[in-house]
């Protein structure tokens, strides 16, 4: 069955709402409007306003309400329209959700799922386009997921809801319209692990490490390089916290070279963390210094050509790979 990322995410939410009465969806425009990215279209009519709750434009308030509901035994899914707006809710996420298990000496946990769109590429200008996944990946106490494939969009939500601690799911806005085949056997179980990184394309000469919206670009770059006989591996982090260092180290130790692609800004980026772990774990296996392809350190521009220029693109990834391989 060929489905879009949006549809896969919608099906995952639908399954959750159907299978567990404790699950409810809350956020700006998720109900009557059907979701900013139309992921919850039709849910309001099907499940009613009790379970599909439109909220005021108050991230601090409704994320806090979600935490309270989770403490009270519910399994809330809170949608924050974009990561840019989630900064208003940072206090709730960092100081409450991530810490309550610790602060209560293990008496309470916060089984909360927060979904948020991230990333640029849709001409939504600087206040709607940034990639701040690394802010959350910095925080102990939460798990951070970045589904980049249709299968992960379909399969990550259920284990996230099953996790007794808060899980933040980043959905890159440019992925919603991507399509792929999705397994569809009778009694299909789409649940996937939310622990490990995945090799999306095996290769021998270099590992391109990426996640989220940059995965299709990395795969496109790998295809182009393959046409010139340059065989690169593409690794999808999938889980941004805790990082799957084992899979990264295994791959880079085998290929001896790494290019890290991250739509976040270079300084203090997830790419920097990945690079640091590569150097810590694989120093004696490295055959060239690792290289990063990140967004230019500017507010993401509105104009199409400038936005394109500011973001990692397949051509930039190809150039970085060639630089590392000196070919």
């Amino acid at each position: 069955m060929r489905v879009s990322y949006r549809e896969a995410m919608r099906q995952a939410l639908h399954d959750a709402l159907v299978s567990d009465p404790r699950v409810f969806l809350m956020g700006e425009d998720v109900g009557r409007y059907g979701g900013t990215y139309a992921v919850s279209k039709g849910f309001y009519d099907e499940f009613g306003p009790e379970r599909i709750r439109d909220t005021p434009l108050s991230e601090l308030g409704f994320v806090g309400a979600g935490i309270g509901a989770a403490l009270g035994g519910m399994r809330p899914i809170v949608e924050v329209m974009t990561v840019n707006f989630s900064l208003l809710a940072l206090d709730q996420i960092v100081n409450s959700a991530a810490l309550l298990r610790h602060m209560s000496g293990g008496q309470v946990s916060v089984p909360l799922v927060i979904r948020m769109a991230t990333g640029a590429g849709r001409q939504l200008a600087a206040q709607h386009s940034h990639s701040l996944e690394n802010w959350y990946a910095h925080i102990p106490g939460i798990r951070v997921l970045a589904p980049a494939t249709i299968a992960d969009a379909r399969g990550m939500l259920a284990p996230a809801l099953a996790d007794p601690d808060p899980v933040v799911i980043f959905e890159h806005a440019q992925l919603y319209n991507t399509e792929d085949e999705l397994r569809d056997e009778p009694n299909e179980d789409w649940r996937c692990d939310i622990e490990r990184a995945a090799i999306r394309r095996p290769g021998s000469r270099l590992t391109v490490i990426t996640y989220g919206g940059s995965l299709p670009k990395a795969l496109e770059a790998a295809d182009e390089l393959a046409r010139d006989g340059i065989d690169v591996e593409v690794l999808d982090l999938r889980v941004l916290r805790p990082l799957d260092t084992e899979t990264i180290a295994e791959s880079v130790s085998r290929t001896h070279r790494a290019v890290i692609v991250d739509e976040g800004w270079r300084s203090g980026s997830l790419a920097a963390e990945v690079m640091a772990r590569i150097v810590e774990r694989c120093f004696y296996d490295l055959d060239a210094p690792p290289v990063r392809v990140c967004s230019e350190e500017v507010p993401i521009p509105y104009a199409k050509h400038m936005e394109d220029a500011a973001l990692p693109q397949a051509a930039k990834i190809v150039a970085a790979v060639r630089e590392v391989l000196n070919v």
């Binding site: 001896h256 120093f283 004696y284 296996d285 490295l286 055959d287 060239a288 210094p289 630089e323 590392v324 000196n326």
Partner: protein, 389 residues
């Protein structure tokens, strides 16, 4: 202990091939002694050493191609005792290769080796210091180490028969000239000045001097011109030296690179050393020797690397004047055209007199047109007083 590195024998040289060692470990060498013969794209060059010492260890085998800056040998200072066995040999000291960073750079930098390549080389027993890197920034990579560990790896390149060595040498020289001249036009803001110089006095004086001499003992006008250039340079030192690393280094002596065309094509401009201080007869002998050795492909390293200015004389080919391209890192080039009779006004009278058009191409980063003009005027005056040269 000191290192003997492969010098850059000109701006267009970034590597060479060691043909032969002229010394062996234990030999005492004197400053200026030829210790090795190295093949460059232009010629087989006798490479001299510039320090007295005793050869300790030869680090490069004949037949190896090596980048400029490579340590070829280590030597002991006069009186220095050899280090005890087992102490780190020069081969183990880091920093033997300079990946030809800047032409003329002679200081060895730390060799770049990827951590994986270093570990693999240890496991395979490969001497990484002898490898040329193919990785980014010239780094030695895993693939370089593994290729070197193949049995017979180092020999395979040499056993490939070379079909047309002469044709290859010509192509190499063309490539080298192209690189140097492109760099010159890319980096050096040239300015050009020309001056027509009356040559009647110089010709008369030369005829007198040569009268009664055998043909082989006669002075050529070219020698007079070279000496005159050296005399003018003494007044205008900003035409004589090198522009390196963003600044000008003046050189007291005029080591004039004499452009010599080769029969098979291409040219070399080796140095005639310290032209200003030598009498004309000696210069004549040295020039004849230099031309002969250049065409035979047998030059000394100092002749390749020392020129502080170039003089080109295309008069024999019949052109009136030449606008030269400076040979980096030099900062000026003087060109002479054909000596030809021209109508000339002298003391208000129109006469026919032999003249030559002298040109100056100079580096505007170092000198300005005003000084260049004064230099050419000085050159003109020097040629009016040939007896003082």
């Amino acid at each position: 202990m000191f290192d003997f590195t492969l010098p850059s024998l000109g701006a267009d040289m970034d590597e060479g091939k060691l043909i032969e060692w002229k010394v062996k470990p234990g030999d005492t060498v004197r400053k200026g002694q030829v210790v090795a013969i190295v093949d460059t794209s232009k010629a087989a060059v006798d490479v001299e050493i510039w320090q007295d010492g005793v050869v300790h260890e030869l680090l490069v085998e004949p037949g190896e191609r090596i980048p400029v800056g490579t340590v070829l040998a280590t030597l002991l200072e006069p009186g220095e005792k050899p280090p005890p066995e087992g102490a780190a040999s020069a081969g183990e000291r880091a920093g033997k290769l300079t990946p030809a960073a800047a032409p003329g750079a002679s200081e060895a930098a730390r060799q770049r080796i990827s951590p994986a390549a270093r570990r693999r080389a240890e496991a395979l027993g490969v001497d990484i210091a002898r490898l040329m890197g193919s990785g980014p920034g010239g780094a030695v990579t895993l693939a370089d180490v593994e290729a070197a560990a193949q049995p017979g790896a180092s020999k395979s390149a040499e056993t490939v028969p070379v079909a047309h060595p002469e044709a290859d040498r010509n192509a190499e020289m063309r490539r080298a000239i192209a690189a140097a001249m492109s760099r010159s036009k890319r980096e050096i803001p040239h300015y050009y000045l020309v001056e027509t110089i009356p040559m009647a006095r110089a010709q008369r004086w030369l005829a007198q001097v040569n009268e009664g001499r055998p043909i082989t003992g006669r002075l050529l006008m070219a020698v007079l011109q070279l000496k005159a250039v050296a005399a003018a340079l003494a007044q205008y030192p900003e035409m004589n030296g090198f522009f390196r690393d963003g600044r000008f280094e003046s050189v007291p002596a005029a080591h004039i690179g004499v452009a010599i065309s080769l029969r098979q094509g291409g040219l070399i401009a080796p140095a005639l050393h310290d032209v200003g201080s030598k009498p004309l007869d000696q210069l004549m002998r040295e020039l004849a020797d230099l031309v002969k050795r250049t065409r035979a492909g047998s030059l000394r390293s100092s002749e390749m690397s020392d020129p502080t200015i170039t003089v080109t004389n295309l008069g024999e080919q019949g052109v009136e004047s030449v606008m030269g391209v400076i040979y980096p890192p030099q900062v000026a080039l003087v060109g002479f055209g054909r000596i030809m009779e021209r109508p000339w006004v002298e003391d208000g009278t129109l006469v026919v007199t032999p003249t030559v058009v002298a040109s100056l191409a100079a580096d505007h980063r170092v000198s300005d047109g005003h000084r260049g003009a004064l230099f050419l005027a000085e050159l003109r005056e020097c040629l009016q007083r040939p007896e003082e040269l």
